[in-house]
């Protein structure tokens, strides 16, 4: 019997260890698995390397994980956005490391990690500071830079719908990094709006096949990051008391 359903986000994240590498899905708030991130904050694993396109906004979700001093290093393409308050301050004070990666290179490094490809060559970043120290190789008259793949101990992602095998479908542009992160992590944890019966997802419509998924947690009505930021929510709430 295969049943990847887990009863709670807390149970799902319980074996994330200090020092682990964690991929977190989402582009801005679209696809951000906020309930899983909050469970990881409650769990408390530290010295994490986190891979996400951004660094979160406000003081919830990924930004709250960073604010809670659980992240030693961020690997991302765009660490500042309109409401990113937490990361810039820590970065300026040398309290967090940053590996800046072009967005497509980030995606391809993750895809390669999931596909068993240790490295690849790309034109992206040739002649720029982001190619510094990397191997350059000429193919057919053009220079390419070698990039290493990325893997993770855990991926935390969000999907719209899953069955107990872990087959997934997503919602619009909230898909973004989730399918490739699911491939690149040893343990892929998925919060889904709805778990359906086997066969309810048309096999032609499956976006991420269940083989890439380890744990499913049903979160029927997930919180929306932008709404929490607008409402001035701070996670965990005790940080607000301590900080103000």
């Amino acid at each position: 019997m295969i049943d990847k359903n887990i009863s709670s986000c807390a149970t799902a994240v319980a074996d994330i260890k200090d020092g682990d590498t964690v991929m977190i899905g989402g582009f801005g708030e679209a696809g951000s698995p906020i309930e899983l991130i909050h469970a990881l904050i409650d769990h408390g694993a530290k010295d994490l390397t986190v891979i996400n396109n951004n660094t979160g906004s406000g003081r919830v979700g990924l930004a709250a994980l960073i604010e809670n001093n659980q992240v030693a290093k961020m690997i991302c393409s765009y660490p500042r956005t309109a409401n990113s308050l937490v990361f810039p301050e820590l970065y300026r004070n040398n309290k967090i490391q940053l590996e800046l990666v072009p967005q497509g290179t980030l995606a391809e490094r993750i895809r390669a990690g999931g596909a068993g490809v240790p490295a690849f060559y790309t034109k992206t970043s040739v002649g720029t500071p982001l190619a510094k120290g990397k191997e350059i190789r000429n193919f057919d008259g053009h220079d390419y830079v070698m990039e290493r793949s990325l893997k993770a101990d855990f991926a935390l992602i969000k999907a719209k719908c899953a069955d107990r095998y872990g087959n997934l479908i997503f919602n619009k542009t909230a898909r973004n990094f989730a399918p490739i992160m699911a491939m690149a992590a040893t343990n892929t944890l998925v919060q889904v709006n709805q778990v359906v019966a086997l066969g309810d997802i048309n096999p032609e419509h499956v976006v991420t096949p269940g083989i890439f998924v380890n744990r499913i947690i049903e979160v029927a009505n997930p919180q929306q990051e932008s709404q929490l930021v607008k409402d001035g929510v701070v996670y965990p709430p005790m940080n607000k008391v301590a900080g103000e």
Binding site: Y78, E108, I110, V126, T128, K172, F177
Partner: protein, 237 residues
Amino acid sequence: MNQSVSKAAQENAKNAKPERDMQQVGWNREQMAKRCAQDIEDGSYVNLGIGIPEKVAQYVPDGREVIYHTENGLLGMGTAPSEDELDPDLINAGKKPVTAIPGASYFHHGDSFAMIRGNHIDVCVLGAMQVSAKGDLANWSTGAADAIPAVGGAMDLVAGVKTIYIITQHTTKNGEAKILPECTFPLTGQGVVSRIYSDLAVIDVTAQGLVLTELAPEVSFEYVQARTGVELINALG
């Protein structure tokens, strides 16, 4: 192409009149976007950068069918949504809410950047901090030590999209040239720019050098040359 350029120039000249009070010389932001839009061909797949480039979509001439790509995972991006249509799961690369047209498709980041890096996107329009005589582009960092570096998809776009158009003010706010022999800011890509649409002129990047093909109304070649760090070739004679 020449015909469409001159037609566009006439149209812009005509439309420039009511805007004269807003700006002393040259095209304003809307007019720069409109001028660039004349060169977006029917049937093309286009990625528009944040800022003035985003405005290009609203000025593509009627009768041309253009598919907009946004690198966070949508082909067939539509206009901004109404209040009822707002969906936080449907956004563009600037993280603003958008809509999807009938015939749109969603895909993950690996596929989205394969479209870019695999040379499947026809045109990308971006802003610039600096452009060099050889078409090098700097548009992601001033290299300042205290800045938080952020690159996003800019390096992938310039490396992979077939044609890169730049829309930019001709000079900085302080009047310094942005078109230079070499970029002094960190590069986004080398030899990637095809054409520059500034507030003063349209300039093509060619093997012979930078060729000025069009002037904004009431702007002279000498006026543009005086604000450019590179010697321009005047195609207008």
